[in-house]
Amino acid sequence: MFEIQVNGRPMRVEAAPDTPLLWVLRDHLGLTGTKYGCGRALCGACTVHLDGAAVRSCVLPIADVGRRAVTTIEGLAPDRSDPVQRAWIELDVPQCGYCQSGQIMAAAALLRSHPAPTDADIDAAMSGNLCRCGTYGRIRHAVHRAAALARAER
């Protein structure tokens, strides 16, 4: 039995200790916004925040999560109000959409550490997130746009 903090709420989970956080979120807790793409930290589809930093939940065993706060796409912001989500909507970034939860979580973590990211910052933070639909160009624009939206709020 593990107790973890997900989207601000304590959750009890009965699972084998080696169960990746990804499958705990999806199968045990019903938080299916976080996606499975490769299971080997190669694609970024499973990106969530652990104490605000982007991590690949497919290679993080539940036993290693501890007391750290897990945030998933469902817990990023109420009503799609995070600047990243607003920018994504404004620029109609998603195509099939499957990679986008991971892209958005990676971008949100980037903006927390780099409020005004350069293209090089974006490359460094986002190149682990694959998109087979090729939305990279719009993602880059949307990250810059999200940074501007966030600045306007402060």
Binding site: A15, A16, D18, T19, P20, W23, R26, D27, H28, G30, L31, T32, G33, T34, K35, Y36, G37, C38, G39, R40, L42, C43, A45, T72, I73, E74, L76, R80, Q85, W88, I89, D92, V93, P94, Q95, C96, G97, Y98, C99, Q100, S101, I104, I122, D123, A124, M126, S127, G128, N129, L130, C131, R132, C133, G134, T135, Y136, G137, R138, I139, R140
Partner: protein, 743 residues
């Protein structure tokens, strides 16, 4: 072969009667249509509360909830926005006031060109262009008639706008208020459709209807389906493609935590458990003796050799024969010939294959991301042992399709598991399962030859395509040359008087499938690279030679001229090199220019400029994103795309071995959409094929090495891909040594 003239006379009829409408459905399916669909909502209208079904695509509830059913699968290409836009335009309703749901299986939902309820061939908008605007106009006419009857005035005195009907006296009724009456009105035989000049939604670039759900995690993909009591399945398949389980020792697996079922099927062994991670652990504990079947020694060299031998030994079936290419080649003042090759490719959709089935006393509910609703229904019916009409298909969002979800091989195991357990079962393929058990894009080997006349003009052209035949497996029987293998060649626009295209089928022992742009990708690579070779031989600029060959093709000339101008053709920046490509496909004309540099012996792609004439556009923003998408997909193929096989086993298992383009490798992409009054062409696939020839032509400009075998940056031994300039007809040469990186 589509010509400029065909396009000009192919304009959509302004009128569309129900009779024609029925006729078109009958002609493809021999089945009943739209208005008679036994959807639950029809019966429910009697209560007065439930929505009225105005036609196969439209429900309107008394509270003015307007629901549009979309009969094509949303896999990123934007059909959940473009198709409702067509209905909303004529219905006089704003798109953001409409709820979108996936249509069930139904005869009304046939795609005439694809002979079934199929999302593929980039023709969703072409198929719907008149059909759905007509449906919207018919529904509006019926709503107006119902309101007019209630007021006792003539329909001509009423007007429908923004979901409200008004009359001259100032009365108003919402669509919801009259929808139940409207559903009982006769379907008008003839409705006039708006001319393009009066479009208010079409052509505007409205926001996608699926974006909000795709930024907050709520979009339901197949892999996200959750049902009460649902269990999870992992499916073990033969490592050697085409093999099967001879015997299974499941004793250890059955003792693993959470395991509910181990079931040997013809194609593999299913393990079902309470959670997916448990199912995976138990799958590892299975001891299966696999019979490798006929492919135990299959490898790339054997595949290539079989294609090569067939090319040399068989002239092929004729797919196109203008003039007399054989004689012209014999008489030519100068000839040139080469062999080109393309490898196997994996679709690698971001969402791996999966399916959820719930088999119960009434039949089966199937939850699946599919491009083929009827084939999915049929596959589930067989696996559940029920008639097809007892299978309800619930189409989810698709986390990428690219043609992979035209196959249904991931459906039966889920149905069999649910059937055995009496509970819903979701089977998920791991990435490794998905990549090593794809229905791969087939390899092809093509010999291409051309002759110049005494004046130096290209006057003969001959292309012999050798590849496996997807359609023979998917939609048999095939008679003559299947159009899916000769795309971009039978309709190649170059004005060469003697033009011969032939095809020989050569199977390779494994299942191959349709993949985004299908044979356009191979044939465009071959033709557009070879035209560059001809330009070099003739001492002409590749742009000038193409323009010369397109003298009577204004739409092709326009895209080529536009792309070349925007890319600065003829005057590349220092250290940069340009290559171009042109294609007609899906009734769209498209040209691209790639700008590259050479970095440590490898190509670095800086920019792709693309000009597109796809006729009228329902949503230019989506068109632009699809072109960008196709370019990224094509660049992955051009640089690294390759599945290899050793002893019948696929060697790439995940995104480390099968490289796909990443954000830091993105070139700048410039898309120019040209205005056009022509009927809509396809946009989802058309940008893919040009990237490889444009980049390889730029590579030739940079290095003098001609790339005749993809990918450009090969994982194979050096010496596999390119040949030096001037090495004539030799088929192989050196390959760029190091791996590529982007800008």
């Amino acid at each position: 072969m589509a010509t400029e003239n065909d396009r000009a006379t192919g304009a959509a009829p302004a009128q569309w009667t129900r009779r024609e409408f029925v006729g078109s459905a009958l002609s493809v399916g021999g089945l009943v249509i739209a208005m008679n669909l036994p959807l639950p909502a029809r019966a429910a209208t009697r209560s007065g509360r439930a929505p009225a079904q105005l036609n196969a695509w439209l429900r309107i509830a008394p509270d003015d909830t307007i629901t549009i059913l979309v009969d094509r699968s949303e896999m990123g290409q934007g059909v959940y926005t473009a198709l409702p836009t067509l209905i909303a335009e004529e219905l006089e309703i704003e798109l953001d006031r409409v709820a979108i749901v996936a249509a069930p299986v139904g005869d009304a939902y046939f795609n005439a060109a694809n002979v079934g309820q199929v999302t593929g061939t980039s023709n969703s908008v072409q198929d719907a262009w008149v059909k759905l605007r007509t449906a919207g106009a018919q529904a509006r006419t019926m709503l107006v008639a119902a309101a007019a009857a209630r007021w006792g005035v003539a329909p001509s005195e009423c007007r429908a706008r923004h979901g409200v009907i008004t009359n001259a006296a100032g009365d108003r009724l919402t669509y919801g208020a009259v929808a139940a009456d409207a559903a009982r009105q006769p379907v008008p035989a003839r409705v006039a459709l708006k001319p393009a000049s009066r479009f208010e939604l079409i052509g505007r670039g409205l926001p996608r209807t699926d974006t909000p759900a795709k930024v907050d995690g709520s979009a339901q993909f197949g892999i996200d389906v959750r049902l009460p009591g649902m269990l999870y399945g992992a499916f073990a398949q033969s490592p050697v493609l085409g093999g099967w389980p001879d015997s299974v020792d499941s004793a250890a697996a059955e003792k693993m935590p959470g395991v509910r079922l181990v079931l040997a099927l013809d194609s593999g062994v299913l393990v079902v458990a309470d959670h997916f991670w448990q199912a995976l652990a138990a799958r590892r504990a299975l001891r299966v003796r696999w019979n490798p079947g006929p492919n135990a020694t299959l490898d790339d060299a054997a595949i290539r050799e079989s294609l090569r031998r067939t090319e040399a030994g068989d002239p092929g079936l004729v797919a196109r024969a203008d003039g007399d290419a054989e004689t012209a080649l014999k008489r030519a003042a100068r000839t040139h010939s080469a062999i080109y090759e393309v490898p196997l490719l994996a679709h690698a959709t971001m969402e791996p294959m999966n399916c959820t089935a719930d088999v119960h006393a009434d039949g089966c509910d199937l939850y699946v991301g599919t491009q083929v609703q009827q084939l999915s229904q049929a596959a589930a019916a067989v696996a559940a042992g029920v008639p097809p009409d007892r299978v309800r298909v619930h189409t989810t969002y698709l986390g990428g399709g690219f043609g992979r979800r035209l196959d249904v091989d991931f459906i039966p195991a889920a149905v069999a598991g649910s059937h055995a357990l009496g509970r819903p079962v979701k089977v998920i393929w791991t990435r490794e399962d998905d990549m090593t058990h794809d229905t791969y894009r087939p390899p092809a080997l093509e010999r291409i030859s051309a002759g110049f006349d005494a004046a130096g003009k290209v006057d003969s052209f001959k292309l012999h395509i050798v590849s496996p035949l997807i359609t023979a497996r998917m939609f048999p029987p095939v008679t003559g040359v299947d159009p899916e293998v000769v795309e971009a060649a039978v309709n190649c626009a170059y004005g060469i008087p003697n033009f011969l295209v032939t095809y020989t089928r050569q199977e390779i022992g494994i299942d191959v499938g349709y993949m985004r742009s299908v044979s356009h990708a191979a044939n465009c690579f071959v033709i557009e690279s070879f035209v560059d070779e001809l330009a070099a031989l003739a001492g002409k600029d590749p742009y000038d030679l193409r323009m010369e060959l397109l003298a009577t093709k204004p739409r092709h000339r326009r895209v080529l001229e536009t792309a070349a101008r925007l890319a600065g053709w003829g005057k590349p920046a220092p250290g940069r090199h340009l290559g171009l490509a042109l294609m007609e496909g899906y009734a769209t004309r498209i040209a691209q220019v790639a700008e590259i540099s050479v970095d440590g012996g490898a190509p670095r792609v800086h920019r792709i400029v693309c000009a597109v004439d796809c006729g009228q556009m329902v949503n230019p923003r989506i068109v632009e994103s699809q072109i960008e998408s196709g370019i990224v997909f094509g660049l992955t193929e051009a640089l690294w795309g390759e599945i290899t096989i050793a002893n019948g086993v696929v060697q790439q298992t995940n995104f480390d071995g099968y490289r796909v383009l990443r954000a830091n490798q993105m070139p700048q992409i410039v898309v120019e959409l040209l205005p056009s009054d022509e009927p809509p062409g396809g946009i989802g696939e058309v940008a893919v094929p040009l990237v490889a020839p444009a980049v390889c032509n730029a590579w030739f400009a940079a290095t003098g090495e001609r790339v005749r075998s993809l990918p450009l940056v090969s994982g194979r031994a050096p010496g596999a891909a390119a040949v030096k300039r001037g090495s004539g007809n030799s088929d192989r040469g050196s390959t760029p040594r190091t791996t590529a990186s982007g800008t």
